[in-house]
């Protein structure tokens, strides 16, 4: 996360990305590919809508009883021998993790993919404590070597070309001979990781779903690294956002199916791990201790405001970014928020406050492509509109979003007040539109409203109101 510049600089960052044709075509190609895969996996007419309805209903039901389900999860996990910790914010979460590691005297850690660990900037924290932390997901491993942040929540290294990966490996992996052959690249990384799995003192992973009734932690992955990370080292620490809890095991199949199809177009991933306890006496493998860290970090704030609660339905499939015309052009790093793309725009304000994320909230044409593919039907454009509105309103409650009213500008506000006055007074509106068409020849000479590559739109020579009046007169 260190290289995240800042969401406040989104505009400048996206400008840089837009000027990079290589980056743009990489993203376009990757997005096209992922869109295709998703479409194929829902090719049966109505199959998506049906499953989506179920997914949405499950997530809504679970969120509506979130406090109870979290308590139940804690007690089921505790009964199973999983130690449960609660973290209110990122700092607490980091301290809990480093506390466990200190207690276990762990000096090396392998990590499965976890966006939450990015959110709490865990790697930097551990590095400062001299704990070696190696990413074991291939994409995460690549961005870690490059000292970059993930640019996509499912495919962290989607912005990297294989030449860049080969160069990174040549620089960082002892004995690696430069090759651009993808299989050899994967093999080289796997060898490094194998060794690390065997020698790591602890494994850290995320959690895709946690089942309250049974105390089961579910982990969805394709590389087997999640399984290795959660079974080989003697301690497993699972990090989870509090919204990820579901009620029962029955809730899992529809959500899993929606997740894998929406993310990569797979009917199911290669690995699906269900972790329900540390190693039992009869087990051949598994960690001696399993810790679950439940992290809030702004989620209760989104929860407490009913308008925003739907953003917590998210199952982090990435489909919204794969279909976003803005994301496809500016790439993940421009956002400089841990979560890029449409989902990032609606949850980052809760994590970072509206002041920092005001430009993210406006960086959407509200085209609705994200909403139309979201497997749990989150009304992303409507939430963006609410956030835009809140960015201009003074906070009215204690639970208000951080940075409300931060994007208030008197000039802009007066523009919309004038808009209101004109549009609600027919005489003024007709006067103005008459003025616009009367002086339409001036338009090209006014400052370019959309920049130099688009001419200013040219009004007609008469308004429809005028034509209608003439028509009435003549009839």
């Amino acid at each position: 996360m260190s290289q995240h510049i800042h969401p406040q600089h989104f505009k400048q960052q996206s400008k840089v990305a837009l000027a990079d044709p290589q980056l743009r075509s990489s993203f376009r190609n990757a997005m096209d590919y992922l869109q295709d895969k998703r479409a194929q996996s829902f090719s049966e007419p109505g199959s998506f809508e049906q499953l989506q309805l179920r997914g949405e209903a499950i997530r809504k039901r679970c969120l509506n009883q979130l406090p109870e389900l979290l308590e139940q999860l804690e007690s089921s996990c505790t009964n199973n021998g999983i130690v449960v910790h609660w973290a209110e914010d990122a700092q607490q979460a980091r301290e809990i993790v480093s506390g466990i590691l200190a207690e276990e005297n762990a000096k090396t850690v392998v990590k499965g993919k976890s966006m939450l660990s990015e959110e709490i900037a865990l790697n930097e924290h551990l590095a400062a404590l001299n704990i070696e932390c190696l990413e074991s997901d291939m994409g995460e491993y690549i961005v870690q070597l490059a000292n970059e942040a993930p640019s996509h929540i499912i495919m962290p290294a989607i912005h990297k070309r294989k030449q860049e990966v080969a160069e990174l490996f040549a620089k960082h992996i002892d004995g690696f001979e430069y090759t651009e052959d993808v299989d050899s690249l994967i093999k080289a990384a796997r060898e490094v990781l194998r060794y690390k799995f065997e020698h790591a003192d602890a494994g850290i992973t995320g959690v895709n779903f946690a089942v309250a009734q049974t105390g089961t932690l579910c982990l969805v992955e394709n590389e087997g690294n999640g399984r290795m990370t959660s079974t080989v080292p003697k301690v497993h620490i699972a990090l989870m956002g509090i919204e990820k809890v579901v009620e029962s095991l029955n809730d899992i199949p529809p959500l899993l199916s929606l997740l894998t199809r929406s993310a990569t177009g797979q009917a199911i991933t290669t690995y699906f791990n269900m972790i329900s306890s540390p190693r039992q006496s009869e087990d051949n493998d598994g960690p001696n201790a399993v810790h679950l860290v439940l992290v809030d970090n702004g989620r209760s704030q989104a929860y407490s405001d009913e308008r925003y609660r739907a953003s917590l339905q998210c199952i982090r499939c990435g489909a919204c970014m794969n279909h976003c015309p803005v994301y496809a052009r500016v790439g993940g790093h421009s956002y400089a928020s841990v979560y890029p793309g449409p989902i990032g725009k609606i949850i980052s304000p809760h994590l970072l406050g509206l002041e920092a994320t005001g430009d993210l909230v406006t960086a959407s044409s509200l085209c609705g492509a994200c909403e139309s593919v979201c497997p749990v039907n989150i009304p992303i454009p409507a939430l963006l509109r609410e956030l835009r509105s809140d960015a201009k309103l003074p906070s009215a409650s204690e639970q208000a979003l951080k940075g409300q009213a931060s994007h208030r500008s008197w000039l802009e506000e007066s523009v919309w007040v004038i808009f209101r006055i004109i549009m609600t007074k027919p005489v003024l509106y007709r006067g103005l539109s008459f003025f616009v068409v009367r002086f339409s020849f001036l338009m090209p000479r006014l400052p370019a409203i959309w920049g130099p590559q688009r001419s200013n739109p040219k009004p007609s020579t008469k308004t429809l109101h005028q034509l209608m009046r003439e028509r009435k007169k003549n009839s």
Binding site: Q52, P325, C367, G368, A369, P426, Y429, Q453
Partner: protein, 257 residues
């Protein structure tokens, strides 16, 4: 939103309001006249409200909910909810139909709002599904490409309807551009606030439209056309988008404008 409920359509009414949108009013009034005359040709009396201005969408999407609400209220109160409102833009139709009820929830009677919402139709949708119009194409054989707005496609669910309407013209070959469903980059204040991103989007859109080598670019939304045409003009391309109403009026009704 992905599953837009199937809409049931009433019988053809005797009277309708024409809601032209502020963009048609100022940028393409002839499309408004064409749309009106085609409605009249179906035997419908078209009511024109002098007090109509703008649906309030620009303020609404920019986050100025209060201003949007006041504009919406003034507009909403102009209408008799017994008479259908035919809107010359998918996006303004979406605003009236889908957003007025919640935006005006605290201000106006909810039954009246629900009734109004039910009476809102996009122009092409109205002609095809309510008037059951049959277009008789008298023009030369030609090739056209259509750009549907995102609100027409995803909010009103009528992208297909527009295509079905245009497909009735048997001398017009409709060609599909690459990335047909992708946004043109307009999005109201987005085009200004995030100029660079919007430009990248419209440049790609124009490229895909031009690649079809169609002679006509058609849309039912002047918002998108404003954006796409401004780009095409600055690039000195020969292609220029026009409203479907103008195109239909000229080809099927032999109308001069």
């Amino acid at each position: 939103m992905s599953a837009i409920p199937i809409r049931l359509y009433p019988e053809q009414p005797k009277q309708v309001y024409l809601y032209a949108s502020c963009l048609v009013d100022m940028f393409d009034p002839n499309a408004g006249i064409a749309a009106l005359q085609i409605l009249e040709a179906q035997g419908i009396e078209v009511l024109w409200l002098e007090q109509q201005s703008c649906c309030g969408q620009p303020a609404y999407t920019s986050g100025y909910t209060d201003s949007a609400m006041k504009v919406a209220k003034q507009q909403f109160e102009l209408f008799d909810t017994d008479i259908p409102v035919v809107v010359l833009s998918g996006s303004c139709a979406g605003m009236l139909r889908k957003h007025y009820p919640s935006l005006l929830e605290k201000e106006c009677d909810s039954d009246a709002l629900a009734k109004f919402s039910n009476q809102v139709f996009e122009w092409g949708e109205f002609l095809l599904n309510i008037c059951q119009i049959k277009l008789l194409d008298k023009g030369e054989t030609t090739k056209a490409v259509v750009h549907n707005s995102c609100s027409a496609r995803r909010e009103m669910g009528i992208a297909e309807t527009t295509m079905r309407l245009l497909k009735q013209m048997d001398k017009v070959e409709l060609v599909e551009p690459k990335y047909a469903s992708e946004c043109c980059g307009f999005g109201g204040s987005f085009a200004k606030r995030h100029q660079d991103i919007s430009l990248a989007m419209v440049a790609d859109k124009a490229k895909h439209l031009l690649e079809t080598q169609a002679s006509f670019l058609l849309s039912a939304d002047w918002g998108c056309l404003l954006n796409i045409n401004s780009y095409l003009e600055q690039q000195q391309s020969g292609m220029r988008g026009q409203h479907i109403a103008t195109f239909i009026w000229q080809r099927c009704y032999g109308g001069e404008l």
